[in-house]
């Protein structure tokens, strides 16, 4: 701790920064290259003749790949999913943290137990359930099933356990019902936890890959990650276009991350210590 950090330390920090950020920078630059420049040997790093061709193709030229539609689908699905998670998990987490009722321990144990069950065993049966519900190839396939995960409930319960009880008790004494208290006293005080859980849920849904590639079929229903993987078509890959698409998927989450990185990192850190 008291040791001075010499030039070697800063050299290491710089090298690590290059390793973690450099590749992103390279594909960002590649998205401004022509298709042939993206395949030169040895590769160029800065685009020699910068062009917006890739973005033009991505947004306007390829009717079979409605990328802006995929972007809107991803945004809608991730937003609705995050709101649904916040709603059901802050209600259930509050009951499990603050209320006494029959079967409370059994219910909580059953929820926690599923944290240890790997997600892939649900792939086939949930596909069948979505088929029965008529939700295949629908946005609901992306929004709803994932909100049944145990993490959010556990996370909110832990937060509510650490919240002082006095505020709620005085609200109750003033005659507020349980739902009123939850809505107007508890939730406003839970803002940091709600932001963290909301952002983590949004990111997970925006980034999800294995589920949308199998439950969505129509080109206009795809999410960005599912659509992008189809851009790597059968014939020669147009790399600047694919990289422009990757940028389109990366920039919203990176921008969100810049604003709320503290919440994201603390959320992750807590998942390890408390988990």
């Amino acid at each position: 701790m008291r040791r001075r950090n010499g030039p070697l330390f800063w050299l290491g920090m710089g090298a690590l920064s290059l390793i973690f950020v450099g590749p992103l920078l390279l594909i960002f630059l590649t998205s401004f290259k022509s298709q042939s420049e993206a395949r030169t040997v040895p590769p160029t790093y800065l685009p020699q003749e910068p062009t917006l061709r890739a973005y033009d193709v991505l947004f306007f030229q390829d009717a079979a790949s409605p990328v802006l539609r995929w972007f809107a689908n991803s945004m809608a699905a991730a937003t609705m999913h995050a709101l649904l998670v916040l709603f059901v998990c802050s209600l259930a987490g509050y009951a499990l943290a603050r209320m006494e009722f029959r079967f409370k321990n059994a219910i909580f144990s059953a929820i926690i137990l599923t944290l240890f069950v790997p997600g892939f065993i649900f792939l086939m049966p949930n596909f069948l359930l979505l088929d029965k519900l008529g939700w295949l190839d629908q946005i609901w396939a992306l929004v709803v099933p994932g909100a049944a995960g145990a993490f959010g409930v556990f996370f909110m319960r832990q937060f509510f356990l650490g919240l002082p009880k006095e505020l709620e008790e005085s609200a109750r004494l003033d005659g507020a019902g349980a739902f009123r208290t939850w809505w107007s006293i508890v939730l406003p005080n839970a803002r940091p936890a709600l932001v963290t859980l909301g952002v983590l849920s949004f990111l997970a849904n925006w980034n999800d890959f294995i589920w949308p590639i199998y439950v969505l079929f129509s080109p206009e229903r795809l999410t960005l990650p599912a659509g992008l993987s189809r851009l790597q078509g059968a014939y020669t890959i147009d790399y600047p276009v694919v990289m422009a698409g990757a940028m389109l998927a990366a920039i919203p989450v990176l921008a969100l991350y810049v604003f709320v990185q503290r919440y994201v990192i603390e959320g992750v850190a807590n998942s390890g210590v408390k988990g």
């Binding site: 590749p23 040997v41 993987s229 694919v242």
Partner: protein, 322 residues
């Protein structure tokens, strides 16, 4: 309002029942009607029963049938799907076990790096220096990207002929013709390397939280005793991180055993079928060919394997503590 409905007659109704003094099932203290807690739980429980409990059972049911999604007839065949996985004559035997082998290899190759490198990064970031929060956020950044972005970008960067990884190596005077995605062992090295790049920040952040809980006095005492950096790591840091280490090892093994997107996008399962993981076999069979009975049986066998490995880990890593 709710208070006035208290049938027990406590004047305030609040703070009257600390820790279950009241009999179970009685009106829930300050929370009014005994149904209130269930109303709070109902939305989540509805989702939980529909999309977790029901499919968990339905999956077993499917695995006991010759369940082809596209055929009307789905005859019950008992444990035949499981028996087929052990019968080297059956057509499922070879793909399944080659997928299991690929998954096992990826776990063995990737997990040591995913456990050790983030620890070193966390120790580095645990020093006090200006911009610490900034660098921590920077190194964590790749983790917020999805596997689709990570897979597509590295597939391009690792291209054997015009990829920039070979380009940079060539510029440094190193071999510039490594077949990163098209020959072994390079394909495994690439997939493990990409996964380290992508998820290293996640484990590092969890280590950092654990490091913050180790009292600084331990290190100060070690300094006075003239302990080397290695001795401090060996006798203070690692024992202090034991519970975090258990968490990291178990979750990292599970995450690596779930590997799908990286090989789907970067190597497409190749060269040959060498990087086709168990999850790729399962999703291809179950969700592309719709042979869901076989695929469900495979997924339960893989799940049991993973549960056993997790139990062994908990046991092995806890043991040394006492």
């Amino acid at each position: 309002m709710a208070v006035t409905t208290q049938p027990t007659g406590f004047s305030s109704g609040a703070e009257a029942a600390p820790g279950g003094r009241r009999s179970r099932g009685a009106p829930a203290g300050i929370h009014g009607s005994p149904w209130t807690p269930y109303l709070f739980l109902a939305p989540f429980l509805l989702l939980f029963l529909t999309f977790v409990v029901l499919p968990g059972i339905l999956g077993i049911w499917i695995s006991l049938h010759d369940w082809d999604f596209l055929l009307p007839n789905k005859p019950f065949i008992g444990t035949q799907n499981y028996a087929d996985l052990l019968d080297s004559e059956s057509p499922q035997f070879e793909p399944f076990w080659s997928g299991m082998k690929a998954t096992g290899l990826f776990v063995l190759i990737s997990v040591p790096f995913l456990v050790v490198l983030p620890l070193l990064l966390a120790i580095l970031l645990n020093r006090r220096f200006p911009g610490r929060t900034f660098f921590r956020a920077l190194y964590f950044a790749p983790f917020v990207l999805g596997v689709a972005v990570v897979g597509l970008m590295w597939r391009y960067l690792l291209d054997p002929s015009f990829g920039m990884v070979n380009g940079v190596l060539g510029a440094l005077g190193l071999p510039d013709d490594t077949p990163w995605t098209t020959a072994q062992p390079w394909a495994w090295i690439s997939l493990a390397g990409v996964t380290v790049w992508w998820t290293m920040g996640f484990n590092a952040v969890i280590y950092l939280a654990g490091l913050a809980d180790i009292p600084a006095e331990h290190y100060e005492a070690a300094d006075i005793d003239g302990a080397s950096a290695w001795q401090k790591l060996r006798f203070i840091t690692i024992p202090g991180l034991r519970p975090v280490l258990v968490f990291i090892v178990v979750t990292t093994i599970l995450a690596s055993a779930n590997m799908f997107g990286q090989s789907y996008l970067i190597t497409k399962g190749g060269p040959g079928d060498s990087t086709r993981t168990a999850i790729m076999e399962i999703t291809d069979l179950g969700l592309s060919q719709y042979r869901m009975g076989q695929a469900s049986a495979m997924s339960y066998v893989l799940a049991v394997f993973l549960a056993l490995i997790s139990l062994v880990n908990f046991w092995a890593l806890r043991e040394k503590k006492s």
